[in-house]
Amino acid sequence: MSTGLIIICCIALIAIVVVQIGKVTELAAKIRGEEEVQYEANRRSGVLWLIFGVVFLIGCIWSAVHYAPWMLGYGPHQAASEHGGSLDSLFNQTLWCTVPVFLATHVALFWFAYKYQGRKNAKASFISHDNKLEIIWTAIPAVVMCFLVIQGLVAWNEVMADVEPDEEFIEIEATGQQFLWHIRYPGADGKLGGKNFKKIVPGENPLGQDWMDDKNLDDIHATDIVLPVGKKVRVRITAMDVLHNFDLPHFRVKMDAVPGMPTYFVFTPKTTTEEYRQQLREYPEYQAPTDPSDPESEPLWKTFEYELACAELCGKGHFSMRKLVKIVSEEEYQDWLSQQQSFYMSNVRGKDYDPRKDELLGVEIKQRKQDFDLAVEKALAAEIPDEKIIRLNYVTFETGSAKLTPLSRYELENVVAALNKYPNMTIEVAGHTDNTGDAEANQALSQTRAQAVYDFLTGKGIAAGRLNPKGYGQTKPIDSNDTEEGRQKNRRTEFQILTQ
């Protein structure tokens, strides 16, 4: 309360002082004659204009020199993309066109204000217009503008050009969400898969990718933007909720992210992060320690990173949408890429929410067939009966039942193929369980499971006489039944080659 009172008193005091200053000067004017006072005021104002003009123009030039490192194309603030240089040079051309105008008009303005201050007995000249002069100073700006427009449009159309159809480029995708960026790489196929905002489930499918689209299966969700130097990049920019803007200040890249409409920006990184650091090293301001209180901490240039920011107001966290951008050599890029896992494979595959959990992907089918065929070859060549056993790890059943899981069919297809390949081969199909529960029930279950496999194979046209289904229950463990891991190994389906 008392502070409020003090503040009110202070304001009142200031108001009184202000009013008194005004009153005093008015009184002075009355005493000395208004005309005299006006001429003196003119003189004072004229001189003030001159002083202000000099200080102002010197200040402008000083500040430009002082902050030159931050101006485009000077000092450490170099463009790190191939097109960036053309924007910087256009900026500087415009600067060279405008600075003389700025200086000339201001010098005239301040000088006239001083020179033509109202004086006693002086008269203003009656000059109402001058057509020639006016045509000149209409024409000159028009010509200069034409020059800048042409320069600008040439640069603009080059920078904004999309990739040519036969051109080699990397396409990545950036998606803005309140308040973070998602970065997606296309994976080995080089193509980004389709998405649909209706499929978005945070955590499970953050971008709403359509997993039925094969192009999505190898797409990578990256934590940073990593790009090889000197390679054209086409960024596909999308937004999930509100407008965002994909802003890479060092690369002179900026483009709105619009919900419902992808936008694109094509650019080529020119300088690797490491090279940029070396450039910065030349400047004393980058020799300063990162932590001003600790002179031993790393110098600024050493910790420099390119950054991705958001440049379109997107809500209360707008100021925090940061991602690192790393420009590296082609080898480092390939190295990094090979360490990245596809989002589908690492986070979706086999989960309840995987729409493809009941099917195998082409690569998986191929891989398993290869493994299986090898095992068959090996078993065929083996001498002792125990080595003629092939474990069907991918044949599984619903818990407690003899119903084959959907994915089992892929391995069984391999069995069918092998049986077709070796028409003389006969096999014993064996079911095994672990020791949990009743031994008799286990025996029965293993028998029906073996039967289920038998049914599948005969259904595929294998002669019944070549197959001998048999349940072993818990009698033949291959590992300890005391651990869950061991029990899992014991629950298994095998077949043994009887004749070949």
């Binding site: 005309e35 603009w156 407008l243 419902g260």
Partner: protein, 619 residues
């Protein structure tokens, strides 16, 4: 003040009006007071354009203080992000979040964005549109054209009261528990359309739209009146080429406003539909708040087109009146005709026309087809030509002048400086390729604040100091006015000049703090400097406000009808003109408004007939 040796003294002027004036039988028909009035009808629900002008001005000043005060609060956040803001809690309440451990207060980010948004809305619409154009169009159009009032005084009164209603609604939105709208003054959807996107996009946005729709009604009623008055109520002899540049500027401004504001309303209407009726004009494929919305097929870019189709002309709605005021004030106090009167008129018309075909230069980076931008670059940079002509003409007006320096003329000269500085940076931004780097950075903030914020305020101040004697029959204090001017000139440059460098370094605007990014965190000292400059500059405005209100009652009295020795006819009315402006006959106009220093005379009033063989229009 008046160092004028009046050649046509007051009674001689009266005589001229008696002899040559146009008798519209004002007295006989209306028995001396056409507009019978008690206190309420005279000062509150007034239909007198001069009272309405004062209402607009004072409401605008209140809004200016609020809008500028908001900028001080968010500048504190930017300049001193680590400082304890708990002391603002009595004012801002829950928007200052107190850390329970340290007891330190911080400004809530939501409210930071609400402040930024409201600052823009208030200054652009309520202060620089209503407060500037509303005040001076009302005051000067009838007075300088020799009309008794606006074409429709009643609509004119409504125009103010719709503005008042709009103000009340906007003011009310500041006190909502979810806060006022916080999505930027441009109110781009989806941020402005979806409650889930921001607290302020709920009730705050509803009130924001409502307020601005009433505001547009106010502008439309005012605009219709201004245009009609200029076309129909000019006194005898006042042909278009004898109108002062102020009236030309107000006239073109009103036409621009009438053509562009309705488009804004249509944009708002569709936004309201999207918000309330689940339509999808601007919304498509949105996942927000853990939920995919049903909206499909809309485009946020459509809104941007509709918005900027007003938004860009709005810039000229703000700056043209300021240009008009400055031209007039500069000429009167230079004691010289405005240089190139016709060129000035043509450039106002050219700017007015071009203002309609450049809107997409706000959208170079919005995702529109880059090919389209080619046209907008061309038209945008062409605007530099008429603007340059105006600057050269103002400077030439000062050449070989005999300048009487007072706060009005100081602000007029300051305006020219600001307009040069801010205009030149527009040449950078108008070029789409440079805009790739500059778009939505502090370079833009610096550009538009200088060229249409500060410059427009300077024009407004010049107008207030110059026509204050006409409005209140007293002068504002000269010394305080000069302190106000120099403080504001230096302060404004100190605030906005350094921002250019921030922008070149790529620092984006509308950031609550900069230390999340290494790239943007180098400028803590500069931000502190800017904040201190802003506080001092705000202090100078307080001086102006004190001066303004003090002078209404205590200012030095005006003793002559024409204290500045101006030739326009508003200065032939009585010092305290009643409703109807002229007591007897209406003055008739015999010549153009800028005969200063002609034939060795200080000035020749517009009512004085041309001499034999004398050419009109400064020949």
């Amino acid at each position: 003040m008046a160092n004028v040796t009046t050649i046509a003294p007051q009674d001689q002027e009266d005589k001229v009006i008696q002899e040559l004036g146009y008798d519209d039988h004002f007295h006989e028909h209306e028995h001396g007071d056409k507009y019978k009035s008690n206190f309420i009808m005279k000062y509150i629900f007034s239909m007198d354009h001069k009272i309405i002008a004062r209402q607009f001005l004072i409401t605008g000043m209140i809004w200016a203080l609020i809008g500028a005060g908001m900028s001080i609060i968010f500048r504190l956040q930017l300049g001193f992000p680590e400082e304890n803001m708990a002391w603002l809690r009595p004012l801002l309440g829950k928007w200052i979040e107190i850390n329970p451990d340290s007891g330190l207060g911080t400004l809530a980010p939501e409210f930071y964005y609400a402040l930024v948004t409201m600052h823009g809305t208030i200054i652009v619409f309520f202060v620089l549109t209503a407060g500037l154009s509303g005040t001076f169009s009302n005051l000067l159009i009838p007075l300088q054209l020799g009309a008794r009032d606006m074409a429709s005084p009643f609509l004119n009164m409504l125009s103010y009261w719709f503005f008042f209603l709009s103000s009340i609604i906007m003011m009310y939105s500041l006190f909502l528990s979810t806060g006022p709208f916080a999505g930027g003054w441009v109110a781009y959807p989806p941020l402005s359309a979806l409650e889930q996107a921001s607290d302020g996009s709920g009730a705050g946005m509803t009130l924001w739209i409502l307020s601005l729709v009433f505001f547009v009604v106010s502008v439309a009623l005012g605009g219709v009146n201004y245009v009609t008055t200029v076309l129909n109520l000019r006194t005898k002899g006042m042909n278009m080429w004898r109108m002062p540049l102020t009236v030309w500027a107000f006239f073109v401004t009103a036409i621009i406003a009438l053509l562009s504001f309705p488009v804004l309303v249509s944009g708002f209407l569709l936004l309201m539909f999207d918000r309330s009726l689940d339509t999808s004009f601007y919304l498509s494929e949105i996942f927000i708040g853990g939920q995919a919305l049903d909206h499909v097929g809309g485009s946020p870019i459509l809104y941007q087109h509709l918005f900027w189709f007003l938004g860009h002309p709005e810039v000229y709605i703000i700056i043209l009146p300021a240009m008009g005021l400055v031209s007039e004030v500069l000429s009167v106090h230079c004691r010289k005709p405005i240089f190139g009167y016709k060129a000035m008129v043509y450039s106002i018309l050219a700017i007015g026309f071009l203002s309609f075909i450049v809107w997409a230069h706000h959208m170079f980076m919005a995702g529109v087809n880059p090919f389209i931008s080619n046209f907008f670059v061309i038209f945008t940079l062409i605007i530099a030509v008429p603007s340059a002509v105006k600057v050269f003409n103002w400077i030439s007006t000062m050449y070989k002048a005999n300048i009487r320096f007072n706060p009005a003329s100081l602000f007029a000269v300051g305006f020219v400086s600001m307009f040069i500085s801010g205009g030149l940076t527009g040449i950078f931004l108008g070029n789409s390729s440079i805009d790739i780097q500059m778009h939505d950075t502090y370079f833009v903030v610096a550009h538009f604040h200088i060229v249409m914020g500060i410059a427009a305020f300077f024009g407004m101040f010049a107008g207030v100091y110059h026509w204050y004697p006409k409005m209140y029959g007293r002068f504002m204090n000269d010394t305080l006015g000069k302190i106000h001017f120099w403080g504001t000139l230096i302060g404004a440059y100190a605030i906005f000049w350094p921002m250019h460098y921030l922008g070149m370094a790529g620092v984006p605007r509308r950031y609550y703090r900069f230390d999340n990014f290494d790239t943007f965190s180098h400028f803590a000292d500069m931000n502190m400097f800017i904040t201190i400059a802003a506080i001092l500059t705000f202090g100078c405005q307080i001086i102006m406000v004190i001066n303004f209100f003090y002078s209404i009652w205590k200012g030095k009295k005006v003793t002559t009808k024409n204290p500045w020795g101006a030739s326009t006819i508003e200065w032939t009315t009585p010092i305290h003109a009643g409703h109807g402006n002229w007591e007897g006959k209406l003055p008739t106009v015999q010549r153009w408004p800028y005969d200063y220093g002609k034939d060795g005379r200080e000035f020749i009033p517009q009512i004085e007939p041309l001499k034999e063989g004398e050419e009109d229009g400064g020949h």
